[in-house]
């Protein structure tokens, strides 16, 4: 197998490059698939960390999400294929400054703080541990997510359809 370090750095550079390409590339369709590439690299990173289930889950969900985003992108954007040069950006330099500062602060924090050492050993099958946790002590988390999903479904249908809240009033 490829040594983990090489794999890590390759995927890390891929993820950040994909992220940058999202806002650099002209065509909206290419921006969506650059974001998908970035997420696939993050899924790979999770596999490198022996989180098999979560890594493949990220890959699975992100492919579906990015395609739904691509359809909305084509639907709403004026110039989806980027054939007409136009820039949809405001205060580009301000944003660059802020995000640069945030990254510097985070990096300093990461390097300086003495991180605690590992407590305990990773279980033989992390997926089983996750399963038992969300069915056991973390059950409220699962119920919370379930309710949130239900609320989102209802909210998005009500918002997106023309009828709005009061039936066919308008």
């Amino acid at each position: 197998m490829i040594p983990a370090t090489v794999l890590f750095w390759a995927l890390a550079v891929g993820a950040v490059a994909g992220g940058v390409a999202v806002f650099a590339v002209g065509s909206m369709a290419r921006a969506t698939f650059a974001l998908l590439a970035s997420f696939l690299c993050v899924g790979g990173e999770l596999l490198v960390l022996d989180l098999d289930y979560l890594g493949v889950l990220v890959v699975l969900m992100m492919i579906m999400e990015m395609l739904v985003m691509a359809v909305f992108m084509v639907m709403f954007m004026m110039n989806p294929a980027g054939l007409m040069p136009m820039s949809m950006v405001h205060n580009r330099w301000g944003a660059l400054g802020i995000s640069g500062a945030v990254f510097a602060a985070l990096a300093a924090g990461i390097v300086l703080t003495p991180w605690p050492h590992r407590a305990g050993r990773p279980p033989r099958d992390p997926t089983r541990a996750l399963g038992l946790a969300i069915m056991g002590p973390k059950m409220p988390v699962m119920m919370g997510i379930g309710l949130a999903i239900l609320a989102t479904m209802i909210a998005s249908v009500v918002l997106a359809t023309r009828r709005g809240r009061y039936g066919d009033a308008e």
Partner: protein, 101 residues
């Protein structure tokens, strides 16, 4: 491939997402920036699980929650954009700044 390098990757993704969210006019692109930021959190959560507390499954649950948040955020975001597009026939953040203080 230590905890610090994973956290640096997470920070980089977060920063790129923040730049995108701040600089883009189109709501759909802002949402892409937000997705990248949550993506940074996923990497950080997994790294903390692997390097700091592999015994408990809390790190994994955090990653699960982060992935769900990404899906929900996108769903609601597109619902808002559709409603905005129907009402104002525009999808840029500038034309939706009514609540601006």
């Amino acid at each position: 491939m230590t905890l610090e390098t994973f956290l640096l990757l997470a920070a980089a993704l977060f920063a790129v997402g923040l730049f995108g969210a701040l600089s883009q006019q189109s709501v759909v692109m802002v949402m892409m920036g937000l997705e990248l930021m949550v993506n940074g959190i996923v990497v950080a959560g997994a790294a903390f699980w692997h390097y700091v507390a592999p015994g408990a499954a809390d790190g994994q649950v955090l990653v699960l929650v982060a992935v769900s948040v990404m899906a929900l955020e996108m769903a609601v975001g597109f619902a808002v954009v559709t409603a905005l597009f129907r009402a104002r026939d525009a999808d840029t953040t500038d034309e939706a700044g009514d609540l601006r203080g």
